[in-house]
């Protein structure tokens, strides 16, 4: 393992501070992230949920500085790296690694499994050829791929095995944080369970922290201690994931949880009887004044059309951005 020499242990590994990201489009400015503040502490994995277009991907791209924010700061290990040049960023990149949704298209088809896994070491120039080979073998063992695949190419492996390779590659630089973007969504359920088990084991054994994007709330709950719910570029609810599931306070979180088909200890959640998500979602290039959820919210009152709600701490420790969070929770 590579020791972190950067900071004492209680500084957050990554911190996003008032991040705003605006994209120029032909239809006007698109506000992908709007004043988002999130921090990831060591050992406290963060799950991010939200519909497509809610800004999840922009958030994690900004967090890895693959996109620079329009406003706000990105802190990695206590240093403000927002404006660092690529060259100065390189050592920081090692600490946050990424696993994409589709394992096949994220691996190099023309490289063997071992080459794929050791490529990050080559890019960062931190070992010689033999060391890289040994490291690849070690990582293959760690993620449960038989060494007989050492010289195989990605297309010769099944989807589950390819995802193991992608995870092994992400671990090559001994990162502190793994960003997993729908990393198990394209796998069949029986294979998905194997990958989830692997991720749980790695989290414990290597002391990894995850930032997990998934539409599968049960997966998020399994892997993450913290949960952030996004809607149209804003974090609308954030808190301990058990608490948010038990006691969702934002009307959007509520309808999101209700909308998701899931297994519970008492069978399968029923199909909601009528559409909980009535109303149209406004376009991200033309957001209404006030709360972005006003068009679909059954509890919207006059203030929601006027003023944008700020994230505020609730009694249960969750942060919620809703003018009527309390009364909404009473009515449900």
């Amino acid at each position: 393992m590579i020791q972190s020499v950067f900071q004492p242990d209680d500084t957050p590994i990554v911190k996003l501070e008032n991040i705003t990201k605006r994209f120029r489009t032909s239809r006007g400015d698109l506000l992908a992230c709007n004043d988002i503040t999130v921090q990831v502490d060591k050992g406290i994995s963060l799950g991010v949920v939200g519909e497509s277009g809610s800004g999840k991907s922009t958030l994690i791209k900004t967090l890895q500085l693959l996109e620079r924010p329009t406003k706000g700061n990105v802190w990695i290990g206590g240093q403000n790296v927002t404006l660092y040049s690529e060259k100065r960023l390189k050592p920081f990149r090692r600490r946050i690694q990424f696993v994409a949704q589709d394992p096949y298209s994220s691996l190099f088809p023309n490289m063997t499994i071992a080459q794929n896994i050791s490529e990050p070491l080559y890019v960062h120039g931190i070992s010689d050829k033999k060391e890289r080979r040994d490291k690849a073998a070690e990582l293959m063992e760690l993620v449960g791929i038989s060494l007989s695949y050492f010289h195989s190419f990605p297309h010769e492996l099944s989807g589950g095995q390819q995802q193991r390779v992608a995870i092994a590659r992400a671990l090559a630089l001994s990162p502190e944080v793994l960003v997993l973007d729908e990393a198990v969504s394209s796998l069949d359920v029986s294979i998905q369970a194997q990958i989830l088990n692997l991720l749980q084991r790695l989290k414990k054994d290597l002391g990894l922290t995850y930032i997990f994007i998934s539409h599968n709330l049960a997966v998020i709950r399994l892997m993450c201690e913290q949960l952030a719910v996004m809607y149209l570029g804003r974090v609308v609810e954030q808190g301990n994931s058990d608490e948010v599931f038990r006691n969702p306070l934002h009307p959007y979180t509520r309808s999101l949880i209700a909308a998701i088909p899931a297994f519970t200890n008492n069978g399968v959640t029923p199909l909601p009887s009528e559409s909980l998500l009535g109303g149209n979602r406004p376009s991200a290039t033309d957001l209404p004044k006030g709360c972005a959820y006003q068009t679909r919210c059954p509890f919207a009152t006059e203030i929601c059309f006027r003023e944008e709600p700020k994230l505020e701490a609730m009694g249960n420790g969750s942060l919620v951005a809703c003018h009527n969070a309390m009364s909404a929770s009473d009515n449900a």
């Binding site: 519909e51 497509s52 099944s158 589950g160 069949d188 359920v189 029986s190 998905q192 369970a193 194997q194 989830l196 088990n197 749980q200 084991r201 539409h215 599968n216 709330l217 049960a218 997966v219 709950r221 399994l222 599931f245 309808s255 999101l256 209700a258 909308a259 998701i260 088909p261 899931a262 297994f263 519970t264 200890n265 069978g267 399968v268 959640t269 029923p270 199909l271 909601p272 009887s273 009528e274 559409s275 909980l276 998500l277 149209n280």
Partner: protein, 325 residues
């Protein structure tokens, strides 16, 4: 009453240069009018092939045997011309990716009206009215105007609604939905599922829902058929899915799905890889090589053992009574 759709002993094989693919192997299925069933399976289990065979939309390298009776008519015996009259009229299909199932160069209106003209159901002007009404029913705002839009002008969820409207245009008795919500956001998925379920109830249609998601299947269907390696492993009422399941495969599958209120521990999983149906099938049970309960008898292919009217299992364990574990 005779079932709306009755499939007996359906087998589908694909011939290619390299090998034969045993996609579906002796499948029985029945669906009553006004009911919904789900066919659930992992990739390669043959779930989509079954319904493509019912619609007779498989490629020419497929050989199909068995019977598929729709309202008493064996559709596998019909000449192609008669089949064209049936397709879209008596039975219709909704596919996974609405965007790629539509003609990008024609407006939604043109595409909706076409089948009505083909089946001689209405004049062009009436057909337009029907299209407007249907779009309204599936929850597209301003249907009159939207008819003049092209597919790319709709969002994914809306396009799926348009496709459902298209499928309903001839008022079919049977609607087949093949992973209609897989490409959609969860919230949009819920909306589309609610819509499908509502339309099915209101119109008294039979609905076949093909999906890889057991939870979705349980939400939408009355009966669930679980497929593996081209065989139905278990047929079970949706309400009994988690309580009365018998087959070790289904048990393994359900246990491997994380529960939203479950413990944060490792998940039980089915070891090994899904069976390859290319080249040939094992003599015995197709699941035996991954099954932790296998015993001597599994060398013989299990027959379908009936447990109750709505519940049957292809597993020797079910012989001689079922123990609930």
């Amino acid at each position: 009453m005779a079932p709306l759709l009755e499939i007996s002993n359906l087998s589908v094989r694909f011939h290619s240069d390299k090998a034969e693919v045993f996609a579906v192997n002796g499948l029985d299925l029945s669906l009553d009018t006004g009911k919904a069933i789900a066919i659930v399976g992992e990739s390669g289990s043959g779930k989509s092939t079954v319904m493509m065979a019912v619609m007779r939309l498989l490629q020419s390298n497929a050989s199909i045997t068995g019977q598929v009776k729709l309202d008493g008519t064996d559709v596998l015996q019909l000449p192609e011309k008669a089949m064209r009259r049936l397709r879209g009229k008596e039975m219709a299909m909704v596919f996974q990716n609405a965007g790629s199932s539509m003609n990008p160069t024609k407006t939604i209106g043109d595409q909706m009206i076409e089948p009505m003209l083909f089946h001689h159901m209405a004049s062009a002007r009436d057909a337009r009215q029907v299209a407007v009404k249907l779009l309204h029913q599936v929850g597209i705002p301003d249907p009159e105007e939207r008819l003049n839009n092209y597919p790319f002008e709709f969002s994914g969820g809306q396009l799926q609604r348009v496709m459902i409207a298209m499928a309903l245009i001839a008022d079919p008795k049977l609607l087949i939905a093949d992973e209609p919500t897989t490409a959609l956001d969860v919230t949009v998925q819920a909306e589309v599922l609610i819509l499908l379920k509502k339309l099915q109830r209101e119109r008294g249609m039979g609905l076949v829902f093909v999906t890889h998601d057991l939870a979705v299947a349980a939400q939408v269907a009355d009966d669930i058929y679980v497929m593996y390696g081209g065989f139905v492993m278990e047929r079970i009422a949706a309400s009994e899915l988690t309580t009365h399941l018998v087959h070790p495969y289904l048990r393994g599958l359900v246990q491997s799905i994380p529960k939203i209120d479950g413990p944060r521990t490792e998940l039980p999983y089915i070891p090994g890889q899904p069976i390859s149906i290319t080249g040939g099938l094992p003599d015995g049970c197709v699941f035996a090589s991954r099954c932790d309960k296998r015993f001597v008898k599994c060398h013989e292919r299990p027959r379908h053992i009936s447990i109750s009217q709505q519940h049957s299992v292809s597993c020797w364990l079910a012989e001689g009574g079922v123990e609930q574990a």
